[in-house]
């Protein structure tokens, strides 16, 4: 079972953290700090597995980002290593050529993707296409609802200003003041 997933950059900044076991906040900070220290200075030739307390951390580095998975001691390391890669492939397709910045600004979407990929600490879907399709549906929906929301918004502001303007579906209202 996966205990937690961490995305950290080389400085140890957390880009994404998802825990599948309940931990206290202070404990989470400690874990993030320790995991970063464990993985950041390892030689690239070394194994991608490190013992971490009573579990093990499987990590993989992509550019400046470390993806770390904490799994049970009996789990298949190589499989989880590839699981990280599959996740990155999914991200890559979703963001088309993903870079760290995509993840920084869209961390909430990364969370949604993760929820389609891993649930309750287990891989729930291993088909890249299935996940991308699901995310596509959600994206479309989001666009639509944002349009509706912003339309409502425009209407209200319009009304409050008691001016007459058609609710515009154009993109400009999306930009916040």
């Amino acid at each position: 079972m996966i205990r937690f997933i961490l995305l950290q950059n080389r400085q140890g900044k957390t880009r994404l953290a998802k825990y599948y076991v309940p931990l206290e906040d202070s404990e989470k900070h400690k874990v993030e700090y320790e995991v970063h220290r464990l993985v950041v200075n390892r030689d690239s030739k070394f194994t991608n597995f490190v013992e971490f307390r009573t579990h093990k951390v499987i990590y993989r580095r992509y550019a400046g980002l470390f993806f770390s998975l904490c799994v049970d001691i009996t789990d298949n390391e190589l499989a989880y290593l590839e699981c990280i890669h599959l996740f990155v492939e999914i991200l890559d397709h979703f963001f088309s050529n993903v870079c760290e910045l995509d993840l920084v600004f869209n961390f909430h979407k990364v969370y949604l993707i993760l929820d389609e990929f891993i649930l309750a600490g287990e891989l729930q879907e291993t088909s890249k296409r299935a996940i991308i399709e699901r995310m596509g549906e959600l994206e479309k929906l989001e666009l639509k609802s944002q349009a509706i929301l912003s339309a409502k918004l425009t209407r209200r502001t319009v009304e409050s200003r008691s001016q007459f303007r058609l609710p515009s579906p154009s993109l400009s209202p999306l930009v916040a003041a």
């Binding site: 989470k28 870079c99 309750a120």
Partner: protein, 980 residues
């Protein structure tokens, strides 16, 4: 120009390709990205928190804005700050009708809240409603939340709906429902015990994703109870076969391998089902063999599957052909340049080595390479392998290696582990006594205080008992080599406390045994230890007791006692010590030195640490004395419960019960002293006790052998002298009971002391001294009831002890494997005596304290530690019992019930299970054709561009620059594609 930039920025934010958030938020993310230090980052985040706190409560926030606030809260929380002020808003957002907002709300609460958070109660209702929604996306979002937020108590609230969703038309919902049930099973197996058959059914779901997800709960179920699922072996094998033959939709391929993650999970399950089951294993041979042949070993994932195959082969009933295939794969792994593969190879080798030890031989060099690799993970894995292949022929090398490595690392957790492994191997395979002692010395020296105290006790016991052979010369050789090496080591600075305890004990017990070293030499060394580790009371205690033993042996051997001046000063210093324990020991030592040869011979028989102690529970040695006194007209003894006819108290004092309760902490207050006692106190005691104090009495000793041949010896201790008259007078009144019992308690403790636990035991003697002297000052004995309890618990403790320790000895002789077990029992012994012995201390507080009443005494007196240890020990000793006794049956019942019920229910007769297996094939292939069709039509969103797309990357870069987010010097890789 400026204008153009603004337009570009607005475009960027508006379009979905941009980031869809306000400039403000983007700026926040940017400034945090550029923060130079943690402090700066914290400042920014704190400012953000302040502004969010203010804004989030403003009335009439547009929903879209609110959504962004929530996302900003998530961001703040992710950076490690507290955003709890906004949790309620996230909860509110889950109530929203709009799907996007709802999803955001759910996302936020799953990230914010743990399952036992107070706000969960507000979400459960919404979840219930959403699980019934028509929109499957809402259902999915709710199920995500269920997986994270529902705890044991709230499971029943959502369980029926989740079960219903197993039949939902969308495969995504079915999959998540399965995972949710799996989660429930984790939380509380009993809550879903009646639903386990659902997992079996879902194994044949038409969607491979659902089938794959079902393997997770099935794996757990089978781990707990493989036998109820043996009927599924055929189904699993047939699924695996289809997967391996590429009959699942292409979408499940990963690096050209058909659904490798599903294959791995199936192999894990088969390994469990085939373990120790020849018949089940036979079904698997073909398919596992096929996978061995087909699997592509050039990719990581291929190797992951191969590794899982090896695990499977090592677990199921042995098949030579598969074993060969596995060995080939291992050879390939070990020869690879990749550290990852070497690691897997070493691990796999560790699994196969049990089956065929010769496999390791051809890989010797590869293993040695891994052992010398700078990569710690690989090294540790290799040590694990070595640990598994240790034999008496290679133990020396392996343990030496382990110790070298242990010295080189700083990680305490692993150091402890490897130290205990060294000890275990050394005990099991030691080729010679000398080597064993040397090895243990090294372990103690370097892992020192990380070593479990048990190991130290074990070592003492081993030295005392020898290796179980009846060869006395070997044993004494072992001892003298230990003494010699300890005398050598003792001068080194900064030895760990545990090690010093062992050293002191061994020197005390055997230092002068072979006559090689003079008593003064050894006592000198012991004094040095006590002086240089003056802050460590335990060590000092061991040292003083060791001194006492050596002096006692000297006297017993009829040699002239030559007390070094430094010893003298040490003893004097300690007799004024703040630690009552050390004080006791010092007084004891002084008293022992003053005794004659005969007395000493029976208090401190040399080399008697392994002898069992007989405790005369009924104090029969006093019978003659009692009769004599009765003749003289003394009152006969009346048991306390007869004296006060109080039912509850007498119940409580029941001897048997006390035996039980004496081992745990007491939570009830001791009873208040009875006023009647004081009035009944015989006036004689005053007189007698004044007599008591100064008597330096050999006469007593001469007297006792007739009345009390065996255990009396103990009474000759320093306390014994003073006890004599005390006993006479008080034997008949209430107080006597207490003191006589205390004296026997003394006997038992002292003797045990001679065994493994010198330290703990000796304390009683001195407490006695105090007690009696106290008595002499204050004749009224208010606490006698308490003493009675003590006595009872003492007896309970010591009698129990005996039984245990004697069985322990047997075990030890039988096999060194059981040493661990023995150890627990032995140490229980130690602590139970300890426990008992501690108690006399209760009686010790200064007189004014007594006036406050017993409860205080009781709570303050016991020095908590031994009690706690005792508890711990008992727990650990009982552990296996509870596992076998309660847990297992629980599970068994669980499974025994459900499948049987499921089958006999009529709906799904036993046949259906087989049918399910058959159905699978058409079902799956159907699904595959369907999805293939679907795949061609619905590829739009997922049309995949392979490899880095320069144009897009450039666009993105430009876009980001337009927004004013420039890559900071600190993180130059920010813009690099992750794959780049």
């Amino acid at each position: 120009m400026e204008q153009l930039k603004t337009i570009g920025r607005e475009l960027a934010m508006g379009s979905q390709g941009g980031f869809g958030q306000s400039k403000e938020f983007l700026d926040l993310v940017k400034s945090i990205g550029e923060a130079r230090s943690k402090a700066e980052e914290d400042r920014i985040v704190l400012r953000e928190i302040e502004s969010l706190k203010r804004r989030i409560v403003e009335p009439g926030i547009p929903k879209r804005k609110m959504k962004e606030y929530i996302i900003r809260l998530v961001y703040v929380e992710m950076l490690g700050h507290d955003a709890s002020f906004g949790y309620i808003h996230a909860v509110k957002m889950t109530h929203d009708d709009n799907l996007v907002l709802k999803r955001t709300g759910y996302l936020a609460v799953t990230l914010f809240l743990n399952e036992d958070h107070d706000l969960i109660i507000l979400i459960v209702n919404t979840i219930q409603k959403d699980l019934k929604s028509d929109n499957y996306l809402i259902v999915c979002a709710a199920l995500n939340a269920v997986c994270k937020l529902i705890n044991e108590e709230t499971i029943p609230a959502v369980l029926p709906q989740v079960v219903e969703l197993l039949g939902h038309s969308k495969e995504a919902v079915r999959k998540k429902a399965i995972m949710a049930l799996h989660r429930f099973y984790h939380k509380s197996p009993s809550s879903v015990s009646h639903l386990l058959s659902n997992f079996r059914k879902k194994l044949c779901d038409s969607d491979p994703g659902v089938m794959g997800a079902t393997l997770c709960p099935l794996f757990d179920l089978i781990t707990n109870d493989a036998n109820s699922y043996k009927d599924l072996v055929v189904s699993f094998v047939s699924i695996l076969k289809q997967v391996a033959e590429h009959r699942l939709p292409k979408a499940y391929d990963y690096h050209q391998l058909p659904a490798p993650f599903i294959q791995i999970r199936l192999l894990k399950i088969l390994a469990l089902l085939g373990s120790g089951d020849k018949q089940a294993s036979e079904h698997m041979y073909t398919v596992v063999g096929d996978i061995f042949r087909k699997c592509d070993s050039s990719s990581n994932i291929g190797n992951a599957v191969l590794y899982e195959c090896i695990c499977c082969v090592s677990s199921i009933h042995l098949n030579p052909k598969l074993l060969e295939a596995a060995a080939d794969v291992i050879a390939r792994f070990l020869k690879s340049d990749s550290h990852n593969l070497k690691y897997m190879g070493i691990d796999a080798l560790g699994r196969l080595i049990k089956l065929s030890p010769e496999i390791a031989e051809q890989h010797q060099l590869a293993v040695i390479d891994c052992l010398e690799d700078p990569d710690d993970t690989l090294k540790r894995k290799t040590f694990e392998l070595l640990y598994k292949m240790t034999k008496s022929s290679n133990v020396e090398v392996i343990v030496d290696r382990m110790i070298d490595y242990m010295i080189s690392i700083n990680d305490n957790h692993y150091k402890t582990e490897i130290a205990s492994r060294c000890v275990e191997l050394a005990e099991q395979f030691a080729p010679s006594n000398h080597w064993f002692i040397q090895t243990m010395n090294k372990v103690f020296e370097h892992a020192g205080d990380l070593v479990n105290i048990k190991v130290a006790h074990n070592l003492m016991r081993l030295i005392a008992e020898g290796f179980g052979e009846d060869d006395d010369t070997a044993d004494s050789q072992l001892r003298s080599s230990a003494v010699e090496s300890y005398l050598h080591i003792i001068g080194e600075p900064k030895l760990p406390s545990v090690f010093l305890q062992v050293i002191c004990w061994v020197l005390g017990e055997y230092g002068t045994a072979d006559g090689k070293f003079s008593a003064s030499y050894i006592t000198g060394k012991l004094c040095d230890v006590a002086e240089s580790y003056s802050s460590d009371e335990t060590v000092k205690g061991y040292a003083v007791t060791a001194l006492m033993k050596i002096y006692a042996f000297e006297i017993a051997a009829g040699r002239k006692l030559d007390i070094l001046p430094e010893c003298q000063s040490l003893i004097e210093e300690l007799s004024a010590s703040h630690s009552t324990d050390l004080q006791q020991r010092a007084y004891e030592l002084q008293a022992v030195i003053g005794l004659d040869v005969r007395a000493i011979g029976s208090i401190m028989p040399s080399d008697a640490s392994c002898e069992d102690i007989e405790v005369d529970k009924s104090l029969s040695f006093l019978n003659g004395y009692v009769e004599k006194s009765l003749e003289k007209g003394a009152q006969p003894y009346i048991p306390e419960n007869e004296r006060f006819g109080m039912v509850n108290i007498s119940n409580f004092r029941n001897q048997d019960q006390l035996e039980v309760t004496s081992h745990g902490l007491r939570f009830e207050a001791y009873e208040l002293p009875k006023p009647s006692v004081q009035s009944r106190t015989p006036p004689i005691s005053v007189a007698s006790s004044t007599e008591l104090v100064p008597v330096p009495e050999p006469s007593y000793y001469r007297e006792t052998p007739q009345t009390a041949p065996v255990p009396s010896s103990s009474d000759t201790g320093p306390s014994g002298l003073k006890l004599r008259l005390d006993g006479v007078q008080k034997k008949w009144g209430r107080p006597t009971y207490s003191s006589s019992s205390a004296s026997t308690s003394n006997s038992s403790s002292l003797k045990v002391v001679n065994g493994a636990t010198q330290v703990d035991g000796v304390s009683s003697g001195n407490s006695k001294t105090h007690e009696t002297s106290y008595d002499s000052r204050r004749p009224q004995v208010e606490i006698s009831e308490e003493k009675q309890k003590l006595a009872a618990s003492l007896f309970g403790g010591s009698s129990k002890t005996e039984r245990r320790s004697s069985t322990g000895h047997k075990v030890a002789k039988a096999s060194s494997h059981a040493s661990e077990k023995l150890h627990t029992s032995k140490s229980t012994t130690i602590y139970s005596t300890d426990n008992a012995v501690e108690k006399p201390n209760l009686v010790q507080p200064p007189p004014d304290l007594l006036d406050l009443g017993e409860p205080i005494v009781a709570s303050s007196a016991p020095s908590v530690d031994p009690f706690r240890q005792l508890e711990g020990l008992l727990d650990s000793a009982q552990d296996p019992g509870t596992f076998g006794g309660t847990k297992a049956p629980d599970f068994m019942a669980l499974y025994a019930e459900t499948p049987a019920g499921g089958r006999s229910a009529g709906v799904a007769p036993p046949l259906s299970l087989n049918r399910d297996g058959d159905n699978l094939i058409p079902g799956l292939s159907n699904a595959s054709s369907n999805t293939v069709h679907g795949g061609t039509t619905v590829t739009n969103p997922s049309q995949i561009s392979k490899g880095p797309n320069v144009k897009e990357a450039l666009e993105k870069d430009a876009l980001v620059r337009q927004m004013g987010v420039t890559p900071s010097g600190q993180n130059p890789n920010l813009f690099k594609d992750l794959f780049g």
